[in-house]
């Protein structure tokens, strides 16, 4: 019997130390409304220096069915104001190209590229227009999201969908900024299910303001153009 008590106490001590170290390691401070607007103005201003952006990305997913973290790798190329290429290279290859209002999708299947006729293209365009806004440092969209910010090691912007239909699927987006407040380091998308499945996209190896060849955003070909590594 005493053994069980000691084990229980030991368990709580361990749990407490893990929790407190996690908390003390990353103190978080919610920014007040007055500071928030100034901060968002600063960020938008800083991001205006970004004409083009090339960044590698790693997407981690935690979902209830899998105990393992599901990893995808790829890259993102952005050209102000509305050109985007989102490409995954592992484990499956796919390319999404947005050039203004035009969207093209390619999938690599059994050794061949296939150009898709995307269904729900309008919804995809809306989502990608959100992404291009974020890549320009524009996080305010009062019709769509409640916005708040947290100061931890860096600054994290939190967007909570307002519309009930949107909220049914997405609990929040967290956009982690770099120290200079001129680029995104990660995005965390938390779903609104019981298990709170989430997707974390980490950006790294950024290259800003390189000239991007026109072909990168060309969606008229039957296969996507090749992109040189950086």
């Amino acid at each position: 019997m005493p053994g069980i008590i000691y084990q229980t106490i030991f368990f709580f001590i361990i749990m407490f130390s893990i929790t407190s170290s996690a908390i003390s390691g990353q103190p978080e401070e919610n920014l007040p409304e007055s500071e928030l607007n100034t901060l968002l103005d600063t960020i938008e201003n800083n991001f205006t220096t970004v004409r083009t952006l090339k960044t590698m990305l790693e997407q981690e997913k935690t979902i209830p069915v899998f105990p393992e973290t599901i990893i995808s790798k790829g890259f993102c190329i952005f050209q102000r104001p509305d050109r985007l290429r989102l490409e995954f290279v592992e484990p499956f290859q796919s390319v999404l190209i947005v050039d203004g209002k035009k969207m093209t999708k390619y999938e690599f299947f059994d050794g061949q590229w296939q150009k898709l006729t995307p269904g729900s293209a309008d919804i995809l365009l809306k989502i990608t227009s959100n992404i291009t806004s974020w890549l320009q440092g524009r996080f305010r969209d009062p019709d769509l999201y409640e916005i708040s910010a947290v100061r931890n090691e860096n600054i994290t912007i939190k967007l909570v969908p307002k519309a009930a239909e949107f909220k049914r699927f997405i609990r929040s987006f967290e956009l982690g900024l770099n120290k200079r407040l001129d680029g995104l380091e990660h995005i965390v998308i938390t779903e609104n299910d019981e298990a709170e499945a989430f997707t974390r996209i980490r950006f790294f190896n950024d290259v800003k303001n390189d000239d991007i060849p026109e072909t990168v955003f060309r969606g008229s070909d039957s296969v996507p153009s090749k992109v040189s590594t950086w």
């Binding site: 290859q93 898709l116 040189s228 590594t229």
Partner: protein
């Protein structure tokens, strides 16, 4: 061609129409008979097919699907996260859209119940449930039944045939190059009154010998088609893929090796 000959020679004008049509029908019938002629194989070959069917997948595994669903001439890129327990005949599938949002969860316990949760929008949930049940059972819960017969087909094909209601299901097995005469599933066809109404084609990439890496399902009746690329995860490690062709990452995933080029693609 025979019909054209029949009319050109003027037989039609001479009251030979009915006997002529019977003649054409007999010719056509003979042609069909020749193409479906089957020969029942020996017990050894029968056992080989049943064994290939049993060993198609591990008893328990997980898989990640990248799927292109084509319906009404539109393509939808989807991600599927699948957990299969072949012993308990249970499958769980979570389907997410291209940008990561969950479309629906599906749970199947064969012979007992199915459950679907989530926003499936304009699609009829019952239709999805029935379609998914058929697709997933055809793909992952195949097992031998006392009613199976095995025939030899063209080349070295072995065809396992079974009848379910008015549908004849045929599973085509062929030897694969890197094996010592071992066979693996090449395609599945459902036939209704002799006509194909549903089909699955398997393709094996260089990374996996025995587990299909590419799957194509088509249902001409409802007009939907799915192309699936698969990444396997093995539970418990009782079944492993050949070690020289795969690498195990930190999460226990059996993943493909990727070549790194100077340019992507």
């Amino acid at each position: 061609m025979v019909g054209l000959l029949f009319f050109r020679t003027g037989w039609a004008k001479k009251g030979w129409i009915i006997p002529g049509l019977i003649f054409i029908w007999i010719l056509s019938g003979c042609g069909v008979k020749q193409s479906v002629q089957k020969e029942i194989v020996t017990l050894d070959r029968y056992t080989e097919v049943i064994s290939a069917l049993k060993n198609m997948y591990p008893d328990m595994f997980k898989a990640r699907h990248r799927a292109i669903l084509t319906m009404r001439n539109k393509d939808y890129a989807l991600n599927g996260f699948l957990s299969v327990n072949r012993i308990n005949r249970q499958i769980t599938l979570m389907v997410q859209n291209d940008l990561g949002g969950t479309v629906f969860d599906f749970r199947l316990t064969d012979g007992q119940n199915t459950e679907i949760n989530g926003g499936i929008g304009m699609l009829n949930p019952k239709w999805i449930e029935n379609t998914l049940t058929r697709d997933l059972k055809s793909l992952y819960l195949q097992s031998a039944t006392p009613f199976d017969t095995v025939f030899s087909g063209k080349d070295q094909e072995l065809i396992l045939s079974r009848v379910k209601g008015d549908i004849e299901e045929q599973l085509f097995f062929i030897p694969f190059h890197s094996s010592n005469g071992e066979i693996r599933l090449d395609k599945i066809r459902h036939l209704k009154e002799g006509r194909p109404v549903y089909g699955i084609d398997f393709s094996y990439g260089p990374e996996y010998d025995t587990y299909p890496e590419f799957i194509q399902l088509s249902d001409p009746g409802t007009g939907y088609r799915i192309k699936i690329q698969v990444q396997y995860f093995i539970v418990g490690g009782t079944h492993s893929l050949s070690s020289n062709k795969t690498g195990r990452n930190q999460t226990g995933c059996i993943s493909k090796r990727h070549k790194h080029d100077k340019t992507r693609h």
